[in-house]
């Protein structure tokens, strides 16, 4: 069992093939960028995030509590929110999102799949392993379904069936936290149709499995924060994603949880998305609170917090935050219980409505935040200018607003980090992570129960006579 942060760091030194900017990373815990990805895990060892897990008879992370009712889901949403606030970055517990979805799916399948899942879950939870979840395939030419692709490897698929397991090939994109995971769970990323059987699979492998290559996206924001004061968050902690290449990777049968099962695979894709989107709306609420805090402090620092257009801007931030909070909590308050597994499943409609609202309005609230900040959010001098003892008095003097020059200057560096360093990544994350706007539209439109709303209208139609 991984007992503390040091043991965790040690567990990552296992020969995994991680590449950053074209070079093999020898030790992810020491590389200047990947170590920022390791850093947030420390928080998980904090006593406040642990509890006596009744299902596993030992102390585990609170994230491994199996939600069986609204209260459990609310707590799950709440600790996601809290850890995001603490880490000042998005930090969904993807591993348990994924394991919960797998729990429901394998309980439905039963038999050997349930047994494999139970054994794997016990292994992961009692050993306190950290998981990544690889879902979205490279997809190739999007006009084609998996089995129709000119290159069959554009979705991860079985290429060989052996006595003791299977061989898979393909690549997953956007996979968060692989470089720092103890296991990578691989889930399907879409619904399948007949002919796609080889793609309808789910399994798990450790990151140091032969043939597995993790090519990391560059940490632009962290690299770009030259002076410490210009990247208080970007230089502190980060989340990393990899292109996760499965170059003929062997997976033993006991780690295969769904196998050539179109229905189970399609269902699992949706179910993971649902748990993950609840985490998303929960962490987004926490991040959005930061926008309010920044906006309000800057407005006060500029002396404009009584200007009506600034009040409107800040109210935009408030409404953005509180609607996300309302949706994430309602998804817990009004969940439903999966009969077989006993798992409480978040309300699909509130989760997706909250998620779609979050995706669709992010750029609008950024507009409000930038409007509050003013042009200095871009054109403020650098941290090094302030460190220069001759320039400091000038910068201080001319950055003075309704608060001291130093406080306002810091606020401007902070907002510049938010907008110009973290902003680009974050915009893509807000708009695409956990599914694009179109994905939420398709899901809401498909799954909404129109019966009652139609019946209301039919009553009206019935009153119409000629």
């Amino acid at each position: 069992m991984i007992k503390n942060f040091n043991a965790f760091k040690k567990s990552l030194q296992d020969g995994r093939e991680v590449y950053y900017r074209g070079k093999l990373v020898k030790d992810v815990t020491k590389h200047p960028i990947t170590k920022l990805e390791v850093a947030p895990v420390e928080a998980l060892f904090d006593e406040q995030y642990w509890f006596n897990n009744p299902d596993y008879g030992c102390r585990t992370s609170r994230f491994w509590n199996i939600p069986r009712n609204s209260a459990d889901l609310l707590e799950r949403s709440k600790i996601t929110y809290e850890i995001t606030k603490e880490l000042e970055m998005l930090w969904p517990h993807i591993g348990s999102d994924c394991m919960l979805a797998l729990r429901v799916s394998t309980n439905t399948l039963g038999g050997v799949f349930k047994e494999r899942y139970d054994a794997f879950a016990k292994h992961v939870i009692t050993n306190n392993l950290w998981l990544a979840c690889a879902q979205i395939d490279s997809k190739g030419d999007r006009r084609f379904r998996p089995a129709e692709q000119p290159d069959p490897d554009q979705y991860v698929h079985v290429v060989q069936e052996k006595k003791d397991g299977i061989v898979v090939r393909g690549a997953k994109l956007h996979t968060s936290m692989t470089a720092i995971a103890n296991e990578i769970v691989v889930c399907p990323g879409r619904a399948f149709k007949e002919g796609d059987e080889d793609y309808a699979i789910a399994f798990a492998v450790p990151p140091n499995t032969k043939g597995l290559k993790l090519i990391m996206r560059p940490g632009i924001a962290s690299e770009g924060a030259k002076h410490q004061a210009e990247g208080p968050r970007a230089n502190w902690k980060r989340m990393g994603e990899s292109m996760t290449v499965f170059d003929n990777v062997f997976v033993p049968w006991e780690r295969v949880f769904v196998y050539k099962d179109l229905k189970a695979a399609s269902g699992l894709a949706l179910l993971f998305a649902l748990f993950h989107r609840l985490s998303a709306v929960s962490y987004r609420t926490a991040l959005a609170e930061h926008f309010i805090g920044m906006g309000k402090l800057i407005a006060e620092a500029n002396g404009v917090d009584r200007a009506p257009h600034i009040a409107r801007d800040i109210t935009d931030l408030i409404v953005y935050t509180e609607i996300q909070r309302a949706c994430s909590r309602m998804a817990c308050y009004e969940c439903h219980i999966d009969k077989r597994s006993g798992v409480a499943i978040p309300n699909n409609i509130y989760t997706n409505a909250g998620k779609l609202y979050s995706n669709s309005n992010y750029m609008k609230v950024m507009n409000s935040l930038i409007d509050i900040a003013g042009g200095v959010a871009c054109t403020a001098p650098s941290g090094e200018d302030y460190a220069n003892k001759d320039l400091r008095p000038l910068v201080k003097k001319y950055m003075t607003g309704a608060v001291s020059g130093e406080e306002r200057f810091k606020l401007m560096l902070l907002i510049r980090e938010q907008i110009a360093l973290l902003g680009g990544e974050e915009a893509v994350i807000y708009i695409h992570a956990e599914g694009s706007q179109e994905a939420s539209i398709v899901e809401l439109y498909r799954s909404y129960n129109y019966t009652e709303t139609k019946e209301g209208i039919k009553k009206m139609l019935d009153r119409m006579v000629f």
Copy 2:
């Protein structure tokens, strides 16, 4: 006690001075427009909306249940939603919104004010009276505060103090349901400052009080629905508003609940708005469901329900509905309890965020609904054309879509009623009723607790060193 709908109708024949289109309405229960305002009250006599009221020791409307916890508030929100669905029109129980606010305010004031309130509440509830609440003053030139107005009567105020009561003058606008009320409660409509004492009052009077004149707004939608099938809702029931003129009206002391008290009056104005906005977000959820039902049925009737832009339009309607529902319920789940009165007060932030979201997005979802409906929502033939036996086959034939011509024609008449008859009033209601967008912005901006959000940012600032 008013025991049934007939007794209620009778109670309205009391000599009240109601004017419609310049003429005195002799009997509001018989006049073709005001009788549509009387009609919805019938639903309130339905058994499902009654319960044994523990506070008053008798059977009363469920709306008179004093909410003392989340569950009570949730039920309150739910019956508002349900009655809106049943009546197919907005139907907030304004009287109990207002009485709850008064209950809290008078409990805070204590003494004679609490006594007067308790007596009045008992009278109203045990006799099953229907209340209107008059809040918004004529306001005159909006550049001036009440006491600064060139005409002092632009806000309702005390003009004379007598031994047995007071004399008031002024006019309230937009007062819903006065014509059909048994009592009119008059509340302040804004916050007050020193000098405004004469305006800082709350009281109640019966509608037939001498000097009280109710000048009704014209029921344009109901008048405009020439053929029955063109106004299935407009010709069925409606809500009416009056300019409520207090032409030196005498109010006995026992009906004066707040008197020349700047703080209590200002607080009451906000508190009524809060209860009323929860009712608003609740009824708006129900109305929005009708938009979904209309949109989906029309999309199917047109054969376009699989077109991606139509899916997006309908998803707009779904998100609009579900965010309102989420906010209204969260306002109940996370309420707070007023210590003195024991009344559960809706969460201010969720209520106002939901209300502001509702106001600000109404026109956008109408755009989506109109986009789904197509131009026929305006240019369809009339109900009389369909009633003409020679024209009917032609209209039927050429209104045929993916469903029969008659069904699609009815849907088009229904959407035309929604857009062209009810639409104009409704747009104003959605944007202004229960407070304008600016009012919600001001309230959210003012009342939001920024402490925690600021502290999160200050932690970041503290990490910045030069």
Copy 3:
């Protein structure tokens, strides 16, 4: 030749089958609703809209000037704008929009089609006839193309070919001004593919042709304006649309301008849309100016014209107006000349961008207008209340703002007419008339020339080396 308004009115008494609310209209110039449709034509006889037409060697309406350059198109846009301002209603000269498109198409076809067009154009122009243009078919089940429809009549088509002409069947919807036209030009409403030949036709017939039935949409706004002061525009003039049924209508060959020609018919559909959309963006500029005027006068009357959120609202109206003006004029400044016919064709991109902007933002500016107006836009008393000498002083007193009560009351009636009477129709018109938002998206996306924008990007890509 129709020399004056009286002669025009007389020309409409020709036995045409016009139905209004299920009844045959005996004389459209006398019927209370259709006479409002006749009324605007009077303006066309005003000397300012006439000129010596060099192409026809006689005095004709300026709308019949064949635009051969930017200046001509600008004038065309300008008189559309001016007549809209004068009539206070949308009033595109659809007939000449349509004839210009036909001119270009038949010049391209040449031969007999050009001859027929030239003869018809001379007849129309020298006799000063008023035209309607019927374009949009009933469409049936929109999943199917014309030739695939379960009912082949859902698009107007040839059902019989005779020696002296053809017989057509089907129905056109949304056809403006048919009841008051001297000729109805029938154009295709979409692009066609192989198999649709019978639908690929264009022709003209007089409204009193046998088998032609005009079923008018009800004039809800005009009917609903009970008191004269509540419908200063709705009761003054209006535009009417019909379901235009072709029940085996015979068309002589000399009035058939496109015949079973997929390419010519598809091109004509787009070209008419283009000319018509330029008219649309021109008249919408004029209408939008009214919104500014209303908004500003009401803001001043309420005494809120210095409030920042009101300034923002009014600026929304200004930007909406001026962007439409900019696009309509740019479509003229940067037109292109059709070589064969010499006709100046409006710039496709500016026209459609302006039109799409206009459609997509209408509801947003209505939100701004309603926000300015306040709830009184819905709840103001009626005109009859003001006419009542006892009520008048009260209404006057309590409608007083920063201007007199009478002036402000009138403004409120006017805004109520705009929002609650005309608003519904207008919303549908703004969103759908001259093509829906989706239609403009499809057209812009299809026709935009991406070459240069792509080349700019390719230059960047070429600089990228590894």
Copy 4:
């Protein structure tokens, strides 16, 4: 006269005090960041941007042509657009924007001010000098007007009047191109009222003037583009801004163009903003074309260019581009001529409407662009991964879409540069540069001529009788 790019570079080696990240930049033409700011100037020496200037009797940049009619302004807008396209970055000719405004202002003032301006203009233009224009003051606490500020230096002002000139103190923010200018023109940044006289000044100084310190903003995007292929634009050219500190700077009288003149200074502030906003809408049109090109190429590379939601996204980009183009050109087509100076002044309404539209919709179109790009815009591997010969085949294979893996990968690096590197700065620029949204709202609301729009409404009111 500065005859070529080398001479220009030499002219910058003049002892100016430029600071970058806390260090004095010895030679701005060699420093890795500031040399990117020098680079774009080379384009100005291209023959295509020169002409025989009739006013100065010598060959000068076309930007120095004094616009005297629409055609001149159109050309001015066009070359701004063209140079933006060529440089692939915003590059308004701020110096001539500013000198045109000064020309009009000093011609109005006449006398010594006109003489000084004329001499200075001749010096600048005939010597081919490059100008910066410093306008926006540090502003301090924005609740206070200049003369009310606790620190009087928060707006640049006269602190001493000498025989041969004046001494000024203060700081200007956001000043573009100062590090590479031959002269810095200092303009007021707001309207003034009585008491602000010391602030109501305009003047020019060379950047190496004693007491002048240029503290540059860090070039985050350029610094952050680690691999050449990840910053094809950011590493190629850039624009830089400074905090421009006037630490008791002496200005000789012959360089003082406005002096303690509230009206002239206020007018100059607006006039410079106007010329500069025309440049802005012109360069923004060019930049927006790049968004179209990127969006379309990526959509094609992903194989999704036929998906309706992608068509809508790309149409958003098209409309955004073409409305800006329409407004910029209309501002030229419908300009007015200043009588005294003969200078053609851009149409204020179209310029500001276009600018406000541009500011307000930027984040929305970025949303569309990110929606098209997909998550790979954030999570794609790095340029170094592609340069690694072992990883290249994998990256290539799994970046393959409907085009080759290399082409698609380059597109993803390009969009990542756009969004994550340049995006943050650009968002602030789009929302604030050349004036914030609120500034445009205030200006449009203030300067719009409401007369005609009100008269249209008054005609309606006159028809209303009771």
